[in-house]
Amino acid sequence: MLKMLGINKAFNENRVLMDVDFCVKEGEIHALIGENGAGKSTLMNILGGVLPCDSGTITLKGKDVRFLRPRDAMDAGIAFIHQELNLINDLTVYENIFIGRELKTRAGLVDKKEMSRRSSEILKRMGIQLDPGTLVKELDASYKQIVEIARALMMNARLIIMDEPTTSLTDVEIGVVFKLMRTLKSQGVSIIFISHKLGEILSVCDAYTVLRDGHMVHTAPVAGATADELAYHMVGHSVRTEKLHSGMQGGKELLRGENLSGRGFENVTFTLHAGEILGFTGLLGDGRSELFSAVFGVEKLSGGQLWMDGKTVQVHSPRQARALGIGYVPRNRKENGIIKDMSILNNGTLVTLDKYKKLLISGKKQRAAFGTLREKLRIKMEREENLITSLSGGNQQKVVLSKWLAASPKVLIFDNPTQGVDVGAKEDIYDIIVSLAREGVGIVILSSEAQEIIRLCDRVQVMYHGRSMRELGREEMNEYNIMLLATGGGEVKA
């Protein structure tokens, strides 16, 4: 029913989709898979009318279509259910289903009765037991997903795009959503299912298409396929790049966590030595960021024990963590890393302002401290009084790094260190990380990019749903094994 042929899309010089073909049959659940950055979201945003494509054709039920706005796609019967659900928690189920297209009585008031009745009808057709008068905030995650689907059906959607619908669901809830997907399929509705979880794809989908670096590399029916096969296609024969390990091992133990549990992770154990680069990887919802937020004192640990320098410690705040010699370069630089109203200089010395003062801050000392780091990190900028937002992403990241280096930490945690950073700055940051390790700093890298982990880390723990699946040493560390463990399955191959 849907044919997307020869789709091209570029953001400035950066080509993200190259001659991609993508077809979905009527009443089919079609998986769209690929690594982060492979172009899945871009392709779906083009289909949903969020982005225009540069060239290519889209045919829906034999008719050429062109979507300029999300509204056009909706009118053509395509519903896009985003990963972050678009529901209003303080309204009821039926109000959410009809939001933006409320029914009115002749007097011009909202016709609650009719909306409620039609909502019941839709839910019944979906085979779901749910009172449409319930407030959405009282529903659990799977039922919220169901309300989104009901809304799609109310708009007469014949094709539903579901972007990683299961990441925030428990196994039981996933079962509920899958059952509904099969019901819809039997009614002739097509579903595009974006997921990283290969097991789920094998159990619920009819066909799959793999994107890699903006190319459509493989499409086939699911019947007869194995998880190995899918992982192979996702990773492909990408070019190996040289490994950058610190080359130091067996330094003294710095940080150790045993059976750490908290919100989003469970029973994780790890040890970090001086001069070592330890990786943590996994897919969305694996709990690695939550784990190290807790280690750094941002979140609470509900169980387990932490050692620093051989002594048991409890970290209740980032301030304590800093005093212990732990530094943290967080992910989502804009929200967590930089202070946008402040200058480069003040951002780069924020952690250690206390060091430069008697009563007042000595601008001279502050500049001197930052100047050294600025040279070491090769930060490109005009004047240090300029706002940090005047810098490129890579240089901003280096400034965030410099504020921690100024505190000379013993352990440095990097969460997604090269997020939104261009290629050149990425290599710079890798070099800095490796040289820090050589100086004896213990380094933790959290990343979802398998390549990054393989190039940098001496050891890596692969996480899935809040648990550490296994630790891989240098010999076993390859994209295939990481992908397999991260999707929750299988035995690794050496």
Binding site: M342, N346, L350, V351, L359, L360, I361, K403
Partner: protein, 355 residues
């Protein structure tokens, strides 16, 4: 052309420029109004007549001009000081509505403590003169600190929005003060206390103005050159990053409100010393809004993270001069608030920076 473009850019990137320009224009108009007599006649035929006002000499004009300015500054010194404190609160991402009530509470407490009549607490203890004034002032500052600290603790530890906390304490502080003061008769204040404001320098009562300006200089340095000042900006701009950088966000917030309490207490004593009494129902009411208006006109963002002490100083002056101008021109007092409101909105419109 190039120059115009450069000026345009300067105008957009320097938030203080628009306030400074507005202030300058107002001062020019104000001076003209004091110097010339404008008569505007509409009927029967339109006529616009400008005459020099009658002054005996240039020195008489100069005397009138300076007296007028001294009064402007004197009358706005209390709100001016409070606005300086409010700048810190707003930069930190908060708001303090309780400043007017804190002013009344501290003013009342100090009067009860240092009253020279028999009812005065220190008088009963046999302490009089300068020692009594020193103790009274110290206790007044301490009370201001405690009331501010109370706001800060509930905001930081209780995670209640500052607007709500200080709205509550605004009602509490004034109401409790009125309750305790309803049966007390007026107080007599020692001369040493009155001299806090009334001591004359060069034959002029200008101490409150000096306090205000000195405080502005101190707070300017605190904002720009101390760790605390930098942390206030960091917390207001991005609390999460601040916390992740090891800043004790709760302590920064507590200190901001405590600092405000202390400054308001000081303003309260300066006001009591000058006036000699206090009306517990109305004193300081509306100060919170005037202070907030000054801060906003001075270019501080309500969302926190940016702003300056100099801006607030200019903001207070802008409001003050405008008010004076309206009086000089004989505009109905009921209309003054409307002009104040208009200038607040206009200031924010002018200061929209290009992103």
């Amino acid at each position: 052309m190039k120059l115009i473009r450069k000026m345009k850019k300067w105008w957009r990137t320097q938030p203080l420029l628009s306030v400074a320009t507005a202030l300058l224009l107002l001062v020019i108009v104000q001076t003209m109004v004091m110097t010339f007599d404008f008569t505007l006649a509409f009927a029967p035929e339109f006529a616009f007549d400008v005459k020099l006002k009658a002054f005996d000499s240039v020195s008489a004009w100069w005397q009138k001009w300076t007296t007028n300015w001294r009064n402007i500054l004197l009358n706005n010194s209390y709100v001016g000081m409070i606005a300086l404190a409010m700048t810190f609160v707003i930069i930190s991402g908060g708001i303090d509505l309780s400043v007017g009530s804190t002013l009344v509470a501290v003013g009342a407490a100090v009067m009860v403590i240092i009253n020279t009549k028999e009812a005065g607490i220190l008088t009963q203890l046999g302490i009089t003169g300068v020692p009594a004034v020193v103790i009274g002032v110290a206790l007044g500052l301490l009370l201001g600190f405690l009331l501010g600290q109370l706001n800060g603790i509930v905001i930081a530890k209780g995670k209640v929005p500052p607007f709500i906390v200080t709205l509550g304490t605004m009602m509490i502080f004034r109401s409790v003060t009125q309750y305790f003061m309803q049966t007390r008769k007026g107080a007599a204040l020692p001369t040493a206390f009155k001299n806090i404001s009334k001591f004359q320098l060069g034959g002029n009562m200008i101490l409150p103005i000096i306090y205000w300006l000195v405080l502005a200089v101190i707070l300017y340095i605190v904002a720009k050159h101390t760790v605390f000042g930098r942390h206030v900006y960091a917390v207001g701009s991005n609390e999460r990053t601040a916390r992740l950088s090891g800043i004790n966000v709760d302590r920064v917030k507590r200190r901001v409100y405590a600092l405000t309490g202390v400054i308001v207490a000081f303003a309260a004593m300066v006001q009591v010393a000058r006036i000699g009494s206090m009306d517990y129902a109305s004193a300081g009411s509306g100060y919170e809004m005037d202070a907030i208006a000054s801060v906003i006109i001075g270019g501080t963002a309500m969302s926190g993270g940016s702003g300056s002490i100099i801006g607030t100083l200019l903001g207070t002056l802008t409001l003050a001069v405008m008010n004076n101008l309206l009086t000089l021109m004989g505009v109905d007092p009921f209309l003054r608030e409307a002009f104040k409101g208009a200038i607040v909105v206009a200031a924010v419109l002018l200061q929209r920076k290009e992103k």
